[in-house]
Amino acid sequence: MESNAIISINRVNFYYGAVRALTDISMKFRKNKVTALIGPSGCGKSTLLRLLNRMNDLIDGTRVEGEILFEGQNIYAPDVDPVEIRRKIGMVFQKPNPFPKTIYNNIAYGPKLTGVNAGDLDALVEQSLKQAVLWDEVKDIMSKSAMNLSGGQQQRLCIARALAMKPDILLMDEPTSALDPISTAKIEELIEELKKDYTIIIVTHNMQQAARISDETAFFYIGNLIEYNKTEKIFTKPEVKQTEDYITGRFG
């Protein structure tokens, strides 16, 4: 699991005020792989995900120790622009959160801000929607409000919006927990496709989903990384008893 690391986390501790939410985490995420983060509620999965694109900066009183290298560069170094990091490391949230704008502008908004010129926008919007497998469903209603789309469509729109920023990494926090099985299957299918070009890190409470779509799985428990291994290994013969108890649904 050493080769091809796009992100390396080295001895990271993370605090909300005085409360430590992550303890001495060291791990690497491999390029063009899907990595699943699993573990009981409150174990720190979302916290870790937000650390990777400096979203925790937006929360008052937080503190990071250790380093997180993205392609060799410490993203918490003083000279690093968090906005640039967030462009390269995009995020999709649990609840679809489209802007109250047209479908077109949901996608075009970010690229416009980063200076993509108007002539290239149409192509970028189309390409992003196609990548997110939403194009056929929305191509004739681009000027309608995104708020009228179904939950599954909104989530794919949010993925398209993230992709339009041309990120290297896509972080997804329970992206299908609010979706029906068909929409979920579409997003999972999409993740399979996307990993050719992107590195994907996904938080999920759905064990079968983690088993289906990820290459590697990390199990967290109360802020600690308990086991990190190939997904197949984690779901057939985990090395740590705690992992086994969790994924087989045994209580402590």
């Binding site: 064990m207 013969k237 087989t248 649904g249 209580f251």
Partner: protein, 228 residues
């Protein structure tokens, strides 16, 4: 299946019921072997018939257990130890069903042999029957207790059975060479011995699955590597 329990008690009960079913099925096959052997040594054709009749129950239980395992796979989508437990259970029930068939084969040979004068006193065959009965018991014990040592013991006894089978073959060959009138009966006895040897193979198969269940490693064939 040790210390911690599933959050879902229904699931816990389903898994326990599979375990119980396999133990019961194992007991039926042990009885079948014992009776088949007895029908031969006591020249009791009626007992042999009962072995053949009772095999229907073994087949029925095998199908029932397999269906329940498949249902758990479909509905519970087990992982890790639960997944290895269920796949092991499916394999074990298949082995036990085949063992039942071998007991039937032995009973059928006994019926034929009982029609003719006894070729020789049976000494090694009852020993084999005891040993393979013990192998089945030990292999299922190792399954219930996740006991690797006991599984290893089953593999050792399998060697002993192989040797016994060869010894019986050699002995019967001399009978055949002595007098061609012995050939038919000697061949039937050989088949009984061969069936015992195959039962031992199945018991070893069960032990190998237990090793897989506990360690995640496949020991059935040296080249096979299920998880790597």
């Amino acid at each position: 299946m040790e210390e911690k329990r599933h959050t879902s008690l229904h699931y816990e009960k389903e898994l326990q019921a599979i375990k119980d079913g396999i133990i019961y099925l194992g007991a039926l096959t042990e009885t079948a072997i014992r009776k088949a052997m007895k029908s031969l040594s006591d020249r009791d054709t009626e007992l042999a018939r009962s072995v053949i009749r009772d095999d229907d129950e073994i087949d029925r239980l095998d199908t029932d257990l397999e269906e329940r395992c498949i249902k758990i796979l479909a509905l519970r989508q087990p992982t890790a130890i639960d997944l290895r437990f269920i796949t092991t259970a499916i394999k074990i029930t298949g082995h036990l069903e085949r063992i039942g068939d071998m007991a039937v084969n032995i009973a059928e040979k006994a019926m034929q042999l009982n029609e003719e004068p006894q070729l020789k006193p049976y000494i090694d065959l009852p020993r084999m029957a005891d040993l393979v009965g013990g192998m089945i018991k030990d292999s299922l014990d190792s399954f219930v207790k996740s006991d690797l040592d006991q599984a290893e013991k089953v593999r050792r006894v399998e060697q002993v059975i192989d040797d016994l089978n060869e010894q019986i073959f050699r002995e019967l060959l001399t009978f055949m060479m002595e007098d061609s009138k012995n050939i038919h009966r000697a061949l039937l006895v050989m088949q009984v011995s061969k069936n015992m040897e195959r039962i031992a193979d199945h018991a070893k198969g069960i032990a190998d699955m237990v090793t897989y269940m506990v360690t995640g490693e496949c020991v059935r064939h040296r080249t096979c590597n299920m998880l790597e």
